[in-house]
């Protein structure tokens, strides 16, 4: 079986079991390891990618479900060497500790800000449900607000 989709802007064809979750297709077959495995049951968010722009937990998403879809991983967020505003805010606020959850965190934040450029605290609470065992939540929140503020100023 083959599944064809767009991964970070490039077309890919994966010849794998259609039931294989997108996470493992991307990590083990396509070799992009920036997206992480944390729980395997959609409970932690470490495996978050964008599927047609929507933040999606890919450890339970069969690859067949992304046939023809646009998939973005953490590797596809920056524009070459240029970090995205969210990634830059993550550095400015020194968000990561161990860093393992942060690909998923950033993907969740990117999706939130794309949909809602000025999220309130409540919006952030509702959208960012990823687990960070190192407890970086206060900096995640601050970084999201700072991106929103910059965007506001740029307008």
């Amino acid at each position: 079986m083959t599944t064809t989709f767009t991964l970070n802007g490039a077309g890919v064809t994966a010849e794998v079991d259609p039931d294989m979750p997108l996470l493992w297709v991307v990590r083990d077959h396509l070799g992009l390891t920036g997206t992480k495995f944390g729980c395997g049951i959609a409970a932690c968010g470490a495996c978050t990618m964008h599927v047609d722009g929507v933040a999606t937990r890919t450890c339970v998403l069969p690859v067949s479900a992304v046939e023809g879809a646009r998939v973005t991983t953490i590797e596809g967020v920056s524009n070459g060497e240029n970090l995205s505003p969210v990634q830059q805010a993550w550095l400015d606020h020194q968000v990561p500790q161990c860093g393992y959850c942060q690909s998923g965190m950033i993907m969740a934040a990117e999706a939130l800000l794309a949909e809602n450029p000025k999220p309130t605290d409540d919006d952030i609470d509702a959208a960012i449900t990823n687990i960070c065992r190192c407890g970086t939540y206060d900096r995640v929140r601050a970084a999201i607000h700072s991106v929103a503020k910059q965007k506001g100023e740029a307008l």
Binding site: T33, G34, F37, G40, P96, G99, Y100
Partner: protein, 742 residues
């Protein structure tokens, strides 16, 4: 900014031997390399040019392009260890921070001199980070490895590698560079200054970069006692330099153990016994044999593994096996553990840990408070599940792993496979969290056994379920606490508690009551846990802090005193007084709050850092507990990197609150009942409180910071719940008393 060598096999760290390193230095066309050698019984700091005897374990390299590379012999699990050490070295070197890079050191033979390591540590009277307790026989550089001082929970890296090593290496290199310039220019070394990776002679206006002088400087013998800067002159230490490992951690390029790919590698999924100590007597693999992409099935009795081309295929094949598990300790339950604790505490002989005066006499006249308190088993639940990649051949083994103690991990692999330690090559990777779990070896030796059987490169991956049900848990502990008060003073204190041997040395004195009490009876009963236990962030201080600070509040209540004033009345230590007084001001202790909302307070000193916290919580009529604010006041001595220190404190608060609100691992029928996050819940962003962190400015020696903010936050929360509701939390998590987090 972090230098990333990417050799074949995807490791971040080049395979160096001394010879290849020195040869490499030559190929690079000169420069200065300065580090440490372990000659037979001596620790020496030398330059590359003098390193013919013994190996040079480099700490700093200055190349002709004027780059400074600080090589740090440790693992990075989230504290910014390399950055902190580089700050200490660069400060003394007078390097331009923008030209400094860090590099993870290779795991070589030369660091394993346990006598030397031990002697060095004992000689310095250093504070060993709790994560490292199982590893005390290891050389100091590796002890520095797992966790780093200020930012990371143990001060050894800062006080040993940093304070005595990195700092001195930087200063010695600076003197050598100045010396090189003095000779080149024919001027007096005293008339030359080093600044921002440049050497300047003010009289003549001449200047040169470190890089230009490095090759010549390398010919001198380093001064073992170079002049060190006064802290008032610091421009790098004590400043919040951005962590050098973070750029890779925002774009997905940081390589964790889980991400390693080795040519020819297969993935293995594993099944560990569902019941403690059960054995797999037979495995029926007919459902998966011949399945495309699936490799071999290995049954080692205490583990069954299946290999495949992807982790998912391996996991699915594993799930399709028919494994016959036999035996096991099916009678093991949490109730049995509790019953054993009750019995042992009541009947077994106690070992006195600290006593003074006649406690019974004190209890006879004062108001007596008695409390039985208990805490449950806790899992580490690092975000990255355990995993280890290994390639075993007839000649040796290569291991790719993120471990808190690479050298001991290497030795454990060697022993498991019957190899000489030198035949095992380690490739350190980033750790997706450690918290003590990645300091143990069970998961590494398991991979070695599977790899030894397969003789093919294999990544052994634990599912979250295996990770959670096969931890080395913070032990469940029971304590009987008694206190008496009279005229506002504590007159007597008794603490009889279970010690489940988590691995913490008694010298840390987690059992000691940290307030002034004249009459004490503190004694333990050792009761080994029936399931494996280990060091969990802050170790025994987690339960002792809860027991002591709960009793302290109960005694304050019995005395009719304000909880903060009562603590101050029993504190003579000036540093603790300062912290408590500051906390009162910063948290606005005693402020008016709406009904159902209250503040609670606690203080615990651990690992030479004092942390006092106020938790403000709102408790709904349904028992929902909302932690609104946490104020932490910290005296951890000198701060190397305030921003990284702040992160350690706020992260510790979340870690501690998570355990108080949700943390509980239970046993039934010999099986752990919590298998994944919904059963072992984590605090999420929406519940995370507003946090304020205040550091007491201090020139005292650095204490730990990765752990000390964990213990007080739990009793601060439960004391707040009492003040809001009148319900005393004596067992954790708070669900035991009908409360839950919201």
């Amino acid at each position: 900014m972090t230098k990333q060598d990417k050799p074949k096999g995807g490791s971040k760290v080049a395979k160096w031997t001394r010879r290849s390193f020195l040869a490499t230095a030559g190929l690079l066309g000169g420069g200065l390399a300065l580090g440490l050698t372990l000659s037979p019984n001596r620790l020496k700091m030398v330059g590359a040019a003098q390193a013919s005897e013994g190996a040079l374990n480099t700490w700093v390299r200055i190349t002709p392009d004027n780059r400074v590379t600080v090589v740090f012999p440790h693992s990075e699990m989230g504290q910014g260890a390399g950055t902190g050490l580089a700050q200490m070295l660069a400060e003394e070197l007078e390097a331009d921070w923008d030209l400094v890079e860090i590099e993870q050191a290779p795991v070589t033979e030369d660091y394993t001199n346990s006598d030397l390591g031990r002697g060095y540590i004992v000689g310095e009277g250093a504070n060993i980070p709790a994560f490292m307790y199982p590893m005390l026989d290891f050389a100091f550089l590796q002890i520095a490895g797992g966790v780093v001082g200020q930012m990371t929970g143990g001060s050894t890296a800062i006080r040993l590698t940093g304070h005595h090593g990195m700092r001195r290496a930087g200063a010695a290199a600076r003197e050598m560079l100045v010396q090189a310039a003095a000779e080149e220019w024919g001027v007096d070394a005293d008339s030359i200054v080093a600044r921002k990776s440049m050497v300047l002679h003010e009289g003549s206006g001449r200047s040169a970069t470190f890089g230009e002088l490095a090759t010549k400087a390398a010919e001198y013998t380093p001064n073992l006692k170079p002049r060190l800067k006064d802290s008032a002159e610091y421009t790098i230490v004590g400043h919040s330099k951005p962590r050098l490992d973070l750029p890779q951690k925002v774009n997905g390029t940081a390589q964790f153990g889980m991400d390693v790919r080795v040519p020819g590698m297969v993935f293995a999924a594993i099944a560990l016994p569902p019941i403690r100590d059960a054995q797999a007597t037979s495995v029926d693999d007919s459902a998966v044999s011949g399945r495309a992409g699936v490799g071999r099935v290995v049954n080692l009795g205490d583990v069954v593994a299946v290999t495949a081309e992807s982790y998912w295929a391996a996991k699915r094949a594993l799930d399709d096996l028919q494994i016959d598990w036999h035996g096991g300790r099916t009678n093991l339950t949490s109730a049995l553990v509790r019953q054993t604790h009750e019995n042992d505490l009541a009947t077994k002989e106690r070992e006195v840990m600290d006593d003074a005066g006649d406690v019974d006499a004190a209890f006879a006249s004062g108001t007596v408070v008695e409390a039985e308190m208990a805490v449950p088993y806790l899992a580490h639940a690092t975000m990255e599940p355990m995993n280890c990649t290994i390639s075993v051949t007839d000649d040796g083994a290569e291991v790719w792993v993120g471990h808190q103690n690479m050298m001991f991990a290497r030795n454990a692999v060697a022993e498991t496979l019957g190899l000489a330690p030198e035949a095992v090559t380690m490739h350190p990777q980033y750790l997706g969290g450690g918290f003590g779990r990645r300091g143990d070896f069970d998961w590494v030796t398991l991979a070695a056994r599977i790899g030894g059987e397969l003789r093919q490169p294999v990544k052994v991956v634990w599912s979250r379920e295996m990770d959670m049900t096969n931890g080395l848990y913070r032990p469940a502990i029971l304590a009987r606490m008694v206190g008496s008060v009279e005229d506002g003073r504590i007159t007597g204190l008794r603490s009889h508690y279970i010690d489940a041997s988590s691995g913490m040395p008694d010298s840390e004195r987690p059992f000691a009551f940290q307030y002034d009490v004249p009459t004490r009876d503190i004694a333990r009963v050792k009761c080994p846990s029936p399931i494996p236990v280990g060091t969990w962030r802050a170790v025994d201080f987690t339960q002792m802090g809860f027991f002591h600070e709960t009793l302290m509040d109960e005694m304050a209540q019995a005395a009719g005193a304000d909880e903060l004033a009562f603590r101050l009345a029993h504190t003579s230590d000036p540093r603790i007084r300062t912290v408590l007084e500051r906390l009162g001001a910063e948290a606005d202790w005693g402020k008016d709050l709406p009904d159902g909302t209250a503040q609670g307070l606690a203080m615990v000193k651990s690992f030479e850092a004092i942390v006092a916290q106020v938790v403000q919580a709102r408790i709904g009529s349904d028992g929902g507990v909302r932690v609104e604010e946490v104020t932490s006041v910290v005296d951890c001595g000198r701060l190397i990197n305030p921003n990284a220190g702040h992160a350690q404190v706020t992260g510790s608060v979340i870690f501690g609150l998570t355990s108080a609100l949700y943390g509980e691992i239970t046993l039934d029928g010999g099986a752990i009942q919590q298998v994944n996050f919904p059963d072992y819940e984590m605090m999420r962003l929406a519940e995370a409180p507003a946090q304020k962190v205040v550091f007491i400015e201090s020139d005292e020696a650095p204490g730990g910071l990765g752990e000390p903010a964990v213990p007080p936050v739990t009793p601060a929360l439960t004391n707040a719940i009492f003040r809001a509701t009148g319900t005393r939390i004596r067992e954790l998590p708070i669900g035991k008393h009908g409360f839950h987090g919201v």
